[in-house]
């Protein structure tokens, strides 16, 4: 008897508290909706198109790297530019130029190439191969 009375009064108190806090919380409702939308992003997914889902194609990567080298003023003979040209043997770039080219490739595809891999890139096809192996290159 005493227990049921206690429970009832407690229930009344909580429902009252909920009702009053609901009234207070009402102005906050829009912001809580925004945080909720983070967990249900399907409605907003359409707006987040950063890149194609398929990733980069080989001709596209080749084209972008060759274009980048075309604009690099130290390339001795632009006619030798091809998807297979070697930076030092074909294009006449020295080791410092090669570092600059690799940096430019990094910036073009917005990735960071670790030192070890960067040292191994000496030709256009090596660079293309590396970029294609990177899932976050774009």
């Amino acid at each position: 008897m005493f227990r049921t009375a206690l429970l009832r009064s407690a229930r009344r108190a909580t429902s009252q508290a909920a009702r009053s806090s609901g009234a207070i919380a009402r102005p906050v409702v829009p912001s809580s909706f925004i945080t909720k939308s983070r967990f249900a992003p399907s409605a907003f997914q359409a707006a987040r198109c950063y890149s194609a889902a398929a990733g980069l194609s080989k001709p596209e990567v080749e084209g972008r790297i060759v274009d980048l080298l075309k604009n690099f003023d130290k390339v001795s003979d632009p006619s030798k530019l091809s998807p297979t040209s070697h930076f030092s043997n074909d294009l006449g770039l020295d080791s410092l130029d090669t570092v600059e080219v690799v940096m430019a490739i990094e910036e073009e595809f917005s990735i960071e190439i670790p030192d070890k891999e960067a040292d191994a890139i000496h030709s256009v096809d090596k660079a293309v191969e590396y970029i294609l192996a990177q899932p976050d290159a774009h």
Binding site: D94, S95, L96, T98, V99, E100, M103, E107, E112, D119
Partner: protein, 114 residues
Amino acid sequence: MALAAYRHLLRSTRIAFQGDAQVLHAARFQARDAFRKNATMEQGDPALGPAIAHAEEVAKILRENVVQGKRVDKEGEERYKLRIHEHTERGDNNTVKMPNGQTVVIDGKKCTDR
């Protein structure tokens, strides 16, 4: 080794002067110039080690101790908005004076104890 230093330096310029093409180009030009000047150094030259160390230090300073600021006056006051990034060295007045993350030993004395 020198190439790695050059790469780090170029990367630091990108971090330090992001979005500021003029200064970025100037910094890269300067870096290229300095490296070209020493390009004839032989392997085993006694000046080689210090030169590389210098480049690495410049890279570190650019990355950790250079902050871009933009003037955004507010309420008639002169104000600058700084772009503090993840690499910026942060410390308080005591630790910032100590090199390489060493900690300051405070002896507990106050000005009034003197």
